[in-house]
């Protein structure tokens, strides 16, 4: 059975990616199970989706804990511990990361036991307007690594899954799919995982859950402090940057509109964005009367800093 897990953010098309890959495998004659999994239902929140494919009926369900292939749509997810990106990976697992950096760097950074493949985003998809095409690139990269899938299976799946969209959207998807499929077609073959038998696991470390008083065991969050400690800045896909040359110091506008109170005002009246907590909603960008705020993809902000915009 192939067990494939996609990691991305809401809005990047991970659910669609899993469905396109699932459909392609189904068209190619596999039994398939695909599903998205998300907590916070909002743009930018980490989500994952998974696909199982086998030649016989599938009884496994739910989260894939022993992936053969992990696809990472967005490298900014990697520092988030709650994403559990590498969960269940073994020396046989392949991880495909959409990144401009090379695979060796990630291999070392993540201390990953399996093999990492870097998968350069095509220039067009770095455009924030094209974020939702990231999914098709991921699905197509994955399809190329499953050597039992042909381009025709993939193209038929794209046409089927996107049938309700206008033709130009389908064409654009097929264009991106072709680039990604070709880029990975020389890649290594994904190995099909085996069933998990009774000698392949160790016993669960069950405990007897003991009584704790309600002061501890009621599900309450005490003190407003927790919203400081939770670094919601990790939710961002794009970072608002203030151009100091254009900013007119009408700080009350951006700082008032910011729904998270993440814009403070310095002594000189200049607004300062708290990137530990800014969720990247871009309300400030749309409200700034002088268009002094721009959005930069999170993984590129270092370059923007060098150009003299605000940190």
């Amino acid at each position: 059975m192939y067990r494939i897990r996609f990691h991305g953010r809401g809005g990047q098309g991970m659910k669609t990616a899993s469905r396109i890959l699932g459909s392609a495998l189904f068209i190619a004659g596999f039994e398939v199970q695909d599903a998205p999994r998300y907590g916070a239902e909002r743009r930018g929140a980490p989500i994952f989706a998974y696909v199982r494919a086998a030649k016989e009926a599938i009884n496994e369900r739910g989260i894939i804990t022993n992936p053969d292939l992990i696809i990472v749509a967005d490298e900014t997810l990697i520092p988030m511990p709650s994403v559990h990106l590498t969960a269940g990976a073994t020396a046989d697992t392949i991880m495909l990361i959409r990144t401009a950096e090379n695979a060796d760097i990630w291999q070392k950074r993540l201390n990953f036991r399996g093999r990492i493949l870097a998968f350069a985003p095509s220039i067009e998809i770095t455009n924030p307007e094209h974020q939702h095409y990231i999914g098709i690139a991921c699905a197509s990269g994955a399809a190329a690594l499953i050597k039992q899938l042909s381009w025709n299976h993939l193209e038929e799946a794209i046409n089927a899954e996107l049938a309700e969209h206008p033709q130009r959207v389908i064409d654009q998807n097929i264009r991106y799919a072709r680039i990604a499929f070709t880029s990975q077609s020389e890649g290594p073959k994904i190995a099909e995982g085996t069933p998990v038998g009774i000698n392949d696991t160790s016993p669960p470390l069950w405990i007897n859950l003991e009584f704790a008083p309600a002061q501890i065991s009621a599900p309450a969050i005490h003190a407003a402090k927790t919203s400081v400690e939770v670094k919601t800045g990790l939710w961002r896909t794009h970072r608002p940057l203030i151009d100091r040359q254009i900013c007119h110091h009408c700080w009350w506008i951006c700082s008032t509109y910011c729904p998270d109170g993440a814009i403070q005002v310095a002594a000189d009246g200049s607004p300062q964005i708290d990137y530990d907590h800014c969720k990247g909603c871009m309300v400030c960008l749309s409200q700034c009367p002088h268009h002094a705020i721009s959005a930069t993809p999170e993984n590129e902000f270092n370059n923007a800093q060098e150009k003299g915009t605000q940190s």
């Binding site: 599903a35 009884n59 739910g62 069933p195 669960p204 470390l205 069950w206 405990i207 003190a223």
Partner: protein, 414 residues
């Protein structure tokens, strides 16, 4: 034959569509599901001839469903978790009307705390409402059971609402291959809804707001609903048989998977039961005689079928994806009650509570439950009921408690 990848939500919508549902009352906001969204799209495009009405709550939605069924049209509706609880008062009411319709519940854990993932306390809260309950483990079964459910609801020996239950995420959002039956043959299987002496019109009024005092009349009506519900076990078998002849898919009130020569069996309902099937297959690979007993029907409780399934087993592992605080796993207690008066059929029962709020049950936990059941088969003394919960999970919750400013040692907020 059309075989497509469809979610559990999609399969439910297809089931309602193929059943020729004519009226769809719906509360359209969370926790409503894609079932209604899918139906709404078909109605909007003229694909199906069905009237959809949005109501301001699940409570009103069920009132509308019951009233429309009493007016003589085929009704479908759907809800989930908190929505089912909000509808509870009217569920009892319309079951008392003996109004036949089909509803889907997408099972999810109940607040508090809030969660999104599957758990059966929502649907178990409706156990005593008078509605028939069918619990599905695959998307195909959702479609098939929903169609069979109309036959049950409308059968003159039953005439009660039927709830078809599917698990949130594990079925509702999960696509898997589903065979869409031929619509003409479904018509042949179901026939038209004959509302018997219901079907009220202006000229033929019908009062359902009946009050009876003194208890005697109330006892009569309530017990009649009970007797009608009991009939559903036999009628299900007949309908499933007809369905099998037409569509070559075979259902029973209780599925017995590799149980014939099994010494130890799992007993589970819903989608997590397919995980048990996987474990059974792997244990069989290792030569262990293990099986799975899976009730599809929960109301009426298929006591006789369960007795037959469990007769001669050396131990039964019951995994409850629900918890009655102060009582334990509900299914465990119901099975125990069913077996108590059956001399000779009293295998030791092992009670586990697992999968609450969608908590995964890992395959090594299935293996570990079997190891405990093997010991029990020898000793005849089952271990105390257990929550499937690991030391790592407790560490994780303690980290969350720190973040939530719960002081672990004294319990005082910092």
């Amino acid at each position: 034959m059309t075989r497509l990848l469809i979610t559990g939500n999609g399969a439910a919508a297809w089931g309602a569509r193929l059943s020729g549902c004519e009226y769809l009352p719906a509360f359209p906001i969370t926790p409503q599901t894609e079932i209604i969204e899918t139906m709404a799209k078909w109605i909007d495009r003229g694909t199906i001839d069905c009237r959809m009405v949005t109501l301001e709550s699940e409570h009103s939605m069920i009132a509308a469903a019951g009233a429309a069924a009493a007016a003589g049209v085929r009704v479908f509706t759907a809800t989930s978790s908190q929505g089912l609880l909000y509808a509870m008062e009217m569920l009892y009411t319309v079951a008392g009307w003996r109004a036949p319709f089909v509803m889907v519940n997408v099972s999810r854990g109940l607040a508090s705390p809030i969660t999104l993932e599957p758990d059966h306390n929502d649907i178990f809260a409706a156990r005593d409402s008078g509605c028939i309950q069918l619990h599905c483990s695959t998307c195909q079964e959702v479609l098939d059971c929903l169609i069979i459910a109309y036959r049950l609801a409308e059968d003159s020996t039953i005439r009660l609402p039927v709830i078809v239950n599917l698990d949130g995420f594990y079925l509702s959002f999960t696509r898997e291959p589903v065979v869409l039956p031929d619509p003409e043959r479904i018509k042949e299987f179901l026939g038209d809804y004959t509302p018997e002496n219901l079907g009220f019109k202006n000229k033929q009024p019908l009062s359902e707001a009946v009050a009876v005092l003194g208890g005697s009349a109330y006892s009569y009506f309530r017990y009649q609903a009970h007797l009608a519900a009991l009939n559903a076990e036999k009628v299900f078998s007949q309908c499933a048989n007809d369905y099998d002849h037409l569509f070559n898919r075979n259902y029973h009130t209780v599925e017995n998977y590799r149980t014939a020569d099994a010494d130890i069996v799992f007993l589970m309902i819903g989608s997590f039961a397919t995980k048990a099937k996987e474990a059974v297959n792997r244990l069989r690979d290792a030569g262990k005689p293990i099986g799975l007993v899976r009730p599809i029907m929960i109301r009426p409780f298929p006591e006789e079928s369960l007795r037959q399934s469990l007769n001669g087993k050396k131990a039964v592992i019951i995994v409850d994806q629900n918890l009655a605080p102060g009582f334990g796993g509900v299914l465990y207690r119901e099975v125990a009650a069913a077996l108590y008066q059956s001399p000779g059929i009293t295998p030791p029962l092992l009670s586990y509570v697992g999968g609450l709020g969608g908590r995964d049950i890992a395959i090594n936990e299935f293996f570990a439950m079997v190891a405990e059941a093997e010991q029990t088969a020898d000793s005849k003394i089952p271990p105390p009921p257990r929550l499937l919960y690991t030391s790592k999970e407790l560490k994780d919750i303690q980290k969350m408690q720190l973040l939530a400013q719960v002081k672990i040692e004294t319990g005082e907020a910092l």
